[in-house]
């Protein structure tokens, strides 16, 4: 399989505090790669670094032939990387339709994309005129994903999409991730909980204190549950 995204020796810091130390990671075409790690291990920072929202001190992030760390942050999504941030970060005072419009504008997509995305989340179609801040948590998460999918991304970054949702919503989000993989979208999924991951991931990368310790096939993880305990602390 070919790599869509190749991260090499990435160092990142917030001011004086270094968070990522020489992280190397590759995302293969059409796979779901899950990042696991404790709080503060650097999962969110890694996603922000890919988006250019946290500057890289050293190392490279390559999307195909493009070096993403050399681009200003706003150019990264234009190359086909879409981001669903932790806590959703919707434009809460705007309507559902306006949030989707911003997603469409990012790569100049039109009505066809909009329809395709709304077909994936039919519930949003009924709420287009509603202020997005007034949606339920699950609906907000759907909108955050819909907004990202409006880019028709090659790479999708999902930061804890199931956080704080009820089980039926978690199932819906998981189904969506699987459906996107079927369509050939390569996904990096950040999760805290292993059980939320095993069913959808192809490979799992463990982050610990800003280092990428190991990247393994999900089958290996199933055979050796001890591994999870070592990096994440709980089973």
């Amino acid at each position: 399989m070919t790599d869509v995204l190749a991260i090499q020796g990435l160092d990142c810091a917030y001011g004086e505090v270094q968070v990522l130390y020489g992280v190397s990671l590759s995302l293969r075409r059409g796979e779901v790669l899950c990042l696991l790690g404790r709080n503060g291990a650097g999962k969110t920072t890694l996603l922000k670094a890919i988006m250019g929202l946290v500057p890289a001190r050293a190392g490279s992030v390559r999307l195909g032939e493009t070096e993403l760390t050399a681009l200003p942050a706003w150019q990264v999504p234009k190359h086909g990387v879409a981001y669903v941030p932790q806590g959703r970060r919707l434009f809460a005072e705007m309507t559902v339709a306006e949030n989707i419009e911003i997603g469409l504008m990012a790569r100049g997509k039109g009505a066809a994309t909009r329809e395709a995305v709304l077909d994936l989340f039919p519930l949003l179609r009924e709420r287009l005129k509603q202020r997005s801040g007034t949606l339920s948590g699950g609906e907000q998460q759907m909108l955050a994903m819909a907004r990202a999918l409006c880019l028709e991304p090659e790479v999708l970054l999902l930061d804890e999409p199931t956080e704080g949702l009820m089980p039926s919503m978690i199932a819906k989000i998981r189904e969506t991730v699987v459906e996107l993989r079927r369509r050939g979208v390569s996904t990096i999924l950040v999760e805290q909980r292993v059980d939320a991951v095993l069913s959808v991931a192809d490979r799992v990368a463990f982050l610990e204190n800003g280092h990428n310790r190991e990247t393994v096939d999900v089958a290996v993880l199933r055979a050796d549950p001890e591994m999870v305990k070592r990096y994440v602390g709980v089973g």
Binding site: P77, P85, E101, A106, L151
Partner: protein, 293 residues
């Protein structure tokens, strides 16, 4: 004059003031709302607008309306370009840090003010109104130009509102205002949006100045009072709220007109300042603002 017509006259004067104030405060509010920059130099963009309006109106010969229209088009453009340059050269370099931008815009205030003194001089100069039609009411005649100022202000504010709510440019501006980081993650060049908004804010102040300059002469110190009043309007109305800005401008403008006529201008300023204090104590987000997220 009887009380009724006297009150009408005072209200009309207040409305003219409110019209100009609303435009200027809208610029201040936009810049703060989107960029989180408190632009202390906003009054100087107003002053520059007026001084340039005088300059452009002297270039044209013939009917005064030609000079005025020239000023109405060119003056905001030049002021916008100056603001754009100031944003690129200064505000961007200090990364829009809230404290640093206050100090930087205070510096900009003096640079612009002293530049005006050097190149324009200490004199006050009038611009001839584009027309001298008087509207005859049963009790007194009233300047048609002043009524036109009110109309022009309503038009420009409506236009700004339409741009903000109905266009992609407005959508991009609002997205930047709500969440700068997420906006970037969706391909919005926040940096350029900032430069545009700063220029737009200055242009609104300049337009307000062009409208006022046939009524009040252009002078290099004329920016100070409108700046203070704009802050009052923006605090009362709620930062970043267009509706609040308009309502507060009407409140301050009309009450200033009425109180100045019947009592004294000083009392009007005192009451406006008291109102700001009350708003800050009891409703810090302003009458129409939403609480900080």
């Amino acid at each position: 004059m009887a009380f009724g017509p006297h009150l009408l006259l005072a209200t009309l004067e207040g409305l003219v003031m409110a019209a100009v104030l609303a435009l200027m405060a809208l610029g201040l509010s936009l810049v703060f709302g989107v960029m989180r920059v408190v632009n202390v130099a906003h009054g100087e963009f107003f002053m520059l607008g007026a001084v340039l309006a005088w300059y452009f109106s002297t270039l044209a010969t013939g009917h005064p309306a030609i000079g005025f229209l020239l000023a109405l088009v060119l003056s905001p453009l030049v002021v916008g370009a100056i603001a754009f340059a100031a944003e690129r050269l200064v505000l961007r370099r200090i990364h829009y840090n809230p404290e640093a931008t206050i100090v930087a815009t205070i510096g900009l205030l003096y640079v612009l003010q002293q530049a005006a003194l050097t190149f324009y001089g200490p004199d006050a100069n009038p611009v001839v109104p584009p027309f001298n039609y008087r509207v005859l009411l049963p009790w007194f005649g009233y300047s048609g130009y002043k009524l036109a100022v009110i109309g022009a202000s309503i038009l420009l504010i409506t236009l700004t509102w339409l741009v903000l709510t109905r266009t992609r440019i407005g959508l991009v501006m609002r997205a930047t205002q709500y969440d700068r980081e997420t906006a970037q993650a969706f391909g919005i060049p926040v940096d350029r949006v900032y430069a545009g908004v700063f220029a737009l804010g200055a242009m609104l102040a300049a337009v307000a100045a062009v409208l006022i300059v046939p009524i009040q002469q252009a002078h290099y110190l004329m920016g100070t009072d409108p700046l203070l009043l704009s802050f009052i309007v923006v605090i009362i109305g709620g930062l970043g709220s267009l509706r609040g800005t308009v309502v507060a401008a009407l409140l301050i403008g009309v009450s200033d007109g009425v109180i100045s006529v019947f009592f004294s201008p000083t009392l009007a300023k005192m009451l406006a300042t008291l109102l700001v204090a009350m708003v800050l104590v009891f409703r810090p987000q302003g009458l129409f603002g939403t609480a900080a997220r």
